[in-house]
Symmetry: C2
Subunit: 430 residues, 2 copies
């Protein structure tokens, strides 16, 4: 049995413990939803205030040059690149994950139509994040492709000779299950298809080696584990061998080779810059940079380890602890672990399913200051299960936080307080 | 001849004069580039700081409900609606102008393909803002449509029986020339085509009556005359009769009928909400609301006049004054007015062309604190002219500012200081 004292010892020995001081966290809260919205880096308040008052207010239009606004997508992209195994100059921070997915699917289908015109299928996982499926559904319908959704376990049989593109989210948003990026990318290529990865629950959460895995395209989110703030711009990576082959249809001025020549014909910029479109939200971009810096700060904590190596070690220790404590202390409450136990198959979150009451249990936890979230089931099999989702962000979560969170869960279950009517009030957004 | 004293009198009598106090403007600057990036409303600094510290930092994920993040696109859209002659619930603030244009062109072409399948042409103005043409070029190529660019004067002859969509920017970004929205929309409809308007240089600058003109689709910009801050989200309006007919391909979770049901099939929300896609940059959205409020504040300045009526009266007085002073005081310096003299054909800016030196003249003005901008010519005819562009934003520009700006222009021309080498240094962004 793991005790609170054991957890206090783990915190005291944690080489990343000082990284928590980078964040402004509310008193009385154990925050287990950094996989939905990362916490506020303290530096962001002053940095955004400077962008508002000095750059916008005083610099006005001059700040495009003087404050470096024009280079933000590439500068932030380079910082993201170091976290996802990509080279400098191959990532831009821009737009939203959904829109970036539209861009890369468009490019991937253009390449497929040129190189493998007889392949007319796109495959994804049925329990992929729904917005990814909506975007794929729209573009497949436009381009005359068939979108097939399969269970994760059936992927191997779906890699047939008519497959053009395989599109997957690396870490599942519900279960926290992680695909083997290298093996699946190799299998997709062996089948003659292109590979698109969504890193929404991976970037800043688990080590990613896009170039090492020889992936083709990737997108990801700025406001989850990258702590970029609510609705922070997303990112897009394209393998350099593909970047200059086609342009994507969201062809705005910022992706033009000569944006200030104001010519009526579109000429895409070389490389990843052609994945930019319109003017980006500078204030939100500014906050995103503080979020990226908060992750990169893990670089120096363990000698010889990259930021993501150090963060991964603590993340696995936190999720291992969470699973162990739930099993030790909450047994008999019908909570079912939906997250894989094997480290190689797990992201940075823990999902617990319960046949009834999952929504109310999460509301009861939130009212105690333990903030995770609830995801309703829909469909069949594992996807039909209602789950409690607990994100474990190693930058600001302590081992004692995990102990206390499970203690609250135990009390909520044993007292039956989750059955009180006030915990069953529906909310607009949950 | 108009004197400085005349201008001081105009300022003293200006019913909008107190609106300037809403803005934080740098000392020693006459800001004539609000058509590129609007000035900072003082309220925005505190409002954005609250969004960072309280909503993000303290509220964390709970702010989706508690701080009203989820309703921002519609709430801001309703404020924009009152400025562009649209009904509540028909506008959303979201994404960028380019991306919103892609959405509405996509919907317009879907409607055209269904209702008028033999029409295969899209027409726009050759001197339209280039990014609009790039987006149109991309989607026309995708959908098998021909994009024809014509001069503004040749529009009438371009409205032929094969026209599917006419896409125009209401106020030209270079010349400030304004189309007659009502007449051109009627002509497009008479020719059997749909009408798409870009209001980038109109919203907050000139009165717009989208519903009164029976327009079909419109997009516009949040960071120019709406003062929403650098890269503020843009907006999109769709006539209610079209809104539910088709969905647009950027089909993300925020446009779903039941975004938290997490179903794998896309079901578009009714009405304009289906023009939302992914998660929006909340900090930048928050600043945009302050910008919108700064425009709506003109509502109470002249009894019985809407915000846009009052602003339009002052805008025309400012641009009339600017033109008169340049002609009175800068004659003989080869500055050619490219903005129409007729009020009905003029937006809220003044463009001056010069065969040589326009870039250096603007740099010399900027070094004196008179901030307008320069747009290089390209192509033929008027489009080939290099121009000095002066935006006249009635919310914070005084008549004496116009007098002083023209005095600086006069001195720059008479002294020849624009010919100094330091004013010919190229910049990344101009």
């Amino acid at each position: 049995m793991t005790s609170l004292i054991d957890c206090q010892k783990l915190d005291a020995q944690d080489p990343l413990r000082q990284l928590r001081d980078q964040f402004s966290l509310p008193d009385g809260v154990i925050y287990l939803d950094g996989n939905s919205l990362g916490a506020l880096p303290r530096a962001a308040a002053a940095r955004v205030a400077k962008a508002v008052t000095e750059e916008w207010g005083h610099g006005l239009i001059r700040s495009w040059n003087a404050a470096g606004w024009f280079d933000l997508p590439q500068r932030l992209g380079d910082k993201i690149a170091t976290l996802i195994g990509a080279s400098k100059g191959t990532v831009v921070a821009t737009d939203t994950t959904s829109i970036n997915l539209y861009k890369v699917l468009s490019a991937a289908l253009s390449i497929a139509a040129h190189d493998t015109p007889l392949r007319k299928r796109v495959v994804s996982e049925r329990s992929n994040f729904p917005t990814d499926l909506y975007i794929a559904q729209a573009i497949c319908s436009e381009r005359g492709y068939q979108l097939d959704l399969v269970e994760a376990g059936q992927l191997a049989t779906a890699l047939t000779g008519d497959l053009a593109v395989l599109m997957l989210t690396h870490v599942n948003y519900r279960s926290g299950a992680m695909f083997d990026m290298q093996a699946i990318t190799a299998a997709a290529h062996k089948a003659g298809a292109l590979m698109v990865w969504d890193l929404a629950h991976s970037a800043g959460a688990v080590p990613v080696e896009l170039e090492g895995a020889h992936a083709d395209f990737a997108v990801g989110c700025g406001y989850k584990y990258l702590n970029g703030g609510p609705g922070a711009p997303a990112f897009v990576w394209v393998h350099p061998k593909h970047a200059d082959r086609f342009w994507q249809p969201l062809a705005g001025w910022w992706g033009h080779a000569a944006p200030f020549a104001f010519t009526p014909d579109y000429q895409p910029a070389p490389g990843i810059t052609r994945y930019l479109c319109g003017t980006q939200p500078i204030l939100s971009m500014t906050a995103l940079e503080c979020g990226l810096d908060s992750v990169l700060a893990a670089q120096d904590c363990v000698p010889g380890q990259s930021a993501m190596q150090s963060l991964r070690a603590k993340s696995l220790a936190l999720t291992d602890l969470f699973i162990a404590l739930v099993e030790q202390r909450c047994a008999g409450h019908d909570l079912e672990l939906v997250t894989p136990r094997a480290h190689s198959l797990r992201g940075s979150q823990v999902g617990l399913a319960r046949k009834t009451g999952a929504f109310a249990i999460m509301q009861a936890l939130i009212s105690r200051g333990v903030i995770g979230d609830y995801r309703a089931g829909s469909g069949e099999g594992d996807a039909a299960k209602d789950i409690l989702r607990f994100g474990c962000t190693p930058l600001y979560l302590r081992f004692t936080d995990v102990w206390n969170a499970v203690e609250h869960l135990k009390q909520v279950m044993e007292s039956g307080e989750w059955q009180r009517p006030e915990h069953n009030q529906p909310q607009a957004v949950t």
